[in-house]
């Protein structure tokens, strides 16, 4: 009933002259009703948008407020000290910061090329009948809860790495300078490298599915023209598809990086949770979110709790810096190309 009236009102707006005669509806009244509707719509959407700002500033405020005791006590040293000692209540955040960044870097080094290759294969090379199964498999990968990745990582992946991959890495790189430090030590199975690899698998679907969607949006005419000029598939991908879609691809990569920086459960299971910085990526480490998840429940005392909240604030700042860098990079790219 209501909808039929609304439809009539819409007709009125389109062909007011006709309706005025036929239905004798007051034109000003109708327009007034439309204006009210529009205003209500505008306010509703604005309220929804403002909610985001309110929530965000609420979170920032509570993070800053909660971390004040720790930041006042340790000052700048909180950022550069390695000690994390609940007994003496002396806390420094550099080990979790280091772990967060290194695991994310490992994840991106692996996931970005692999994710882009999968997307390119799916859009440019894959036979039609295979596209759907691979596409669905990628999306399923994104739907697996992180705790499952953690359990799988601990029970299946870590023992595999410990018995097969890590001994291989240690022997192969044992006498190469720099790399021997990077791949040093007993093969625990769990550690920074394992966490990075699990993260790579977890963020892969983000990169792949976003890249695939934007690759699909490249006008066929551009690609066909390039092929017509004698370009190889690689040249088309490199010089036509990627430049055309870089904004979308970088967006997908940043989304993935955001997830890698903040991922908690899966990392906690496989990183070894040790508050130490080690030159070797086979050694156990910790990340910001893993530390918070591990220690928050049993953190007794204001300084301890506050230090954990301060870690949360640092993660927030890191994420912000990453996003800002991505924006800056995009602006520079666009400027260089004169767009």
């Amino acid at each position: 009933m209501t909808s039929s009236r609304r439809r009539r009102v819409a007709d009125v707006a389109l062909q007011s002259g006709v309706v005025e005669v036929a239905e004798k509806v007051d034109r000003a009244k109708v327009l007034q009703r439309l204006r009210v509707g529009d205003i209500a719509f505008r306010h509703t959407t604005r309220a929804a948008a403002v909610t985001v700002l309110v929530i965000l500033s609420g979170i920032i405020f509570s993070l800053v407020y909660g971390s004040l005791p720790a930041l006042q006590k340790f000052g700048f040293n909180f950022l550069i000290e390695e000690s994390w000692n609940p007994v003496t209540e002396h806390f420094g955040a550099i080990a979790p910061i280091y772990g967060t960044i290194v695991t994310s870097i490992i994840a991106m080094i692996i996931a970005v090329p692999v994710g882009l290759f999968i997307a390119l294969f799916l859009t440019e090379l894959c036979p039609m009948w295979l596209r759907r199964p691979i596409g669905i498999a990628i999306e399923l990968l994104a739907g697996i809860p992180s705790i499952i990745y953690g359990i799988w990582g601990l029970f299946v992946f870590a023992p595999f790495l410990q018995q097969h991959v890590q001994p291989f890495l240690i022997t192969v790189f044992g006498h190469v300078p720099v790399l021997s430090t990077l791949f040093e030590g007993p093969p625990y199975g769990i550690g920074v490298l394992t966490a990075g690899l699990i993260l790579a698998i977890m963020v892969l679907p983000f990169i792949t599915s976003i890249s695939r969607d934007v690759f699909d949006a490249v006008p066929p005419m551009l690609k066909e023209s390039a092929y017509g000029l004698g370009c190889t598939t690689w040249e088309v991908a490199r010089y036509v598809v990627l430049p055309f879609t870089r904004v979308g691809v970088i967006g997908g990569v940043m989304l993935a990086l955001g997830r890698a920086l903040g991922e908690t459960m899966a990392v906690t299971f496989v990183i070894g949770n040790a508050h130490r910085i080690s030159g070797s990526i086979l050694a156990p480490g910790t990340t910001i979110s893993a530390t918070i998840a591990n220690e928050f429940t049993e953190a007794v005392g204001d300084i301890y709790t506050s230090s954990l909240i301060a870690l949360g604030l640092i993660l927030f700042v890191i994420t912000f810096i990453v996003l800002a860098c991505a924006r800056l990079m995009l602006m520079r790219l666009n400027a260089r190309l004169g767009q």
């Binding site: 609940p86 949770n273 220690e295």
Partner: protein, 349 residues
């Protein structure tokens, strides 16, 4: 349309009214270590009396915070609060159930209970001074065991826990070096090794890593079929981790030496005492705002002391000795009162 909303609203009101109507549910929060036995007791108690228990295992630190915020009737903690803190917050404290912490190892050819370790050696392993299994200090205690020339992989808890509190308390008791360098807490700065989440995480890492050593609640060692070790206790005797050995530690402890029975059972005297026995405590208000709710909670605890021993043993916990239970109940009568100063426990009995 309208009467649907009215109906929904009535439903909400009814649901909201149902919650207080169900307020006979005793509410508590805290330690994760005793959660399985509290849940089992609660189930049996509900069948018997119709009163339920809503226990949230959010961790000891959380339990202490919740009882101080008065959101729950009782809090539960694996580490006892000191007498001063109890007095300041107007809380009473008593032990509810006990368990044992055992070192577990993963060594080829070594069966459960074969390896023997003493306190100082355990401390030196976890501090990273003893790096290999065939170290003379371990070999000295294990003449008949063939120890491999293998690096020791240390596995500890990554989350704050009462298990770690009791474990580090014991190591601090037996090793001055550990006390000064690491100390005692629910979470400490571990000098070496990898951290795993929860008893199950440590159990799994030890099971997966050759040459590893960790520490878990006794029940987890049994359930995961891990190789637990024997220990040399304070009296210099070698003991195996058994229910009797945990009971012996509790029996020898001087429970009244600390306010609120806050005795850590690590390193207790006695020939049969297991050196790493641990109790878990309940926290209540001396003069609770809701005397009836606290009365219900006390009834549940009294029931559990009286009827819960078998269930506890089935889950590899250790019930409190009868003498301690008698002292605790006398302590309730003396200390937990309603606003008029009348004892709540006697009143509800």
């Amino acid at each position: 349309m309208k009467h649907w909303t009215a109906f929904a609203a009535a439903g909400f009101i009814a649901a909201a009214a149902l919650v207080p109507a169900n307020a006979a549910d005793i509410s508590g929060a805290g330690a994760t270590f005793p959660y399985p036995i509290y849940a089992k007791w609660a189930d049996a108690y509900k069948k018997e009396t119709g009163n339920g228990l809503n226990y949230q295992s959010i961790g000891s630190g959380g339990g202490i915070k919740q009882i101080k915020a008065k959101t729950v009737t009782f809090g539960a903690s694996d580490a006892p609060l000191p007498g001063k803190e109890l007095d300041e917050s107007g809380l009473v404290q008593f032990p509810m159930v006990m368990g044992g912490i055992v070192p577990v190892v993963n060594l080829d050819g070594v069966k459960p209970g074969e390896l023997v370790i003493d306190g100082p050696t355990l401390a030196k392993i976890f501090i990273g001074d003893i790096k290999k299994w065939n170290d003379p200090q371990i070999a000295k205690l294990n003449a008949q065991v063939k120890l491999p020339d293998q690096a020791i992989a240390i596995v500890h808890r990554s989350d704050g826990s009462g298990t770690t509190y009791n474990f580090t308390y014991y190591l601090s008791e037996v090793d001055a070096d550990w006390k000064s360098k690491v100390g005692t807490n629910a979470a400490v700065q571990w000098p070496a090794g990898i951290g795993a989440k929860g008893n199950e995480g440590v159990a799994n890492n030890v099971a997966n890593t050759k040459g590893s050593i960790g520490y878990v609640e006794y029940a987890y060692a049994l359930q995961n079929k891990l190789t637990f070790t024997k220990m040399v206790n304070k009296s210099g005797k070698t003991v195996a981790p058994t229910s009797e050995a945990f009971q012996a530690a509790a029996a020898n402890a001087d429970w009244n030496s600390q306010p609120g029975f806050g005795v850590i059972l690590a390193n207790q005297p006695g020939d049969k005492a297991w050196p790493m026995t641990a109790a878990t405590w309940i926290l209540l208000y001396k003069q609770p705002a809701d005397a009836a709710a606290t009365g219900e909670a006390l009834k549940f605890f009294a029931w559990a002391y009286k009827n819960g021993a078998k269930a506890a043993e089935e889950l590899d916990y250790v019930p409190m000795p009868a003498k301690v239970v008698k002292d605790v109940e006398a302590y309730w009568t003396k200390n937990v009162t309603d606003a008029a100063g009348k004892p709540i426990h006697a009143m509800t009995n």
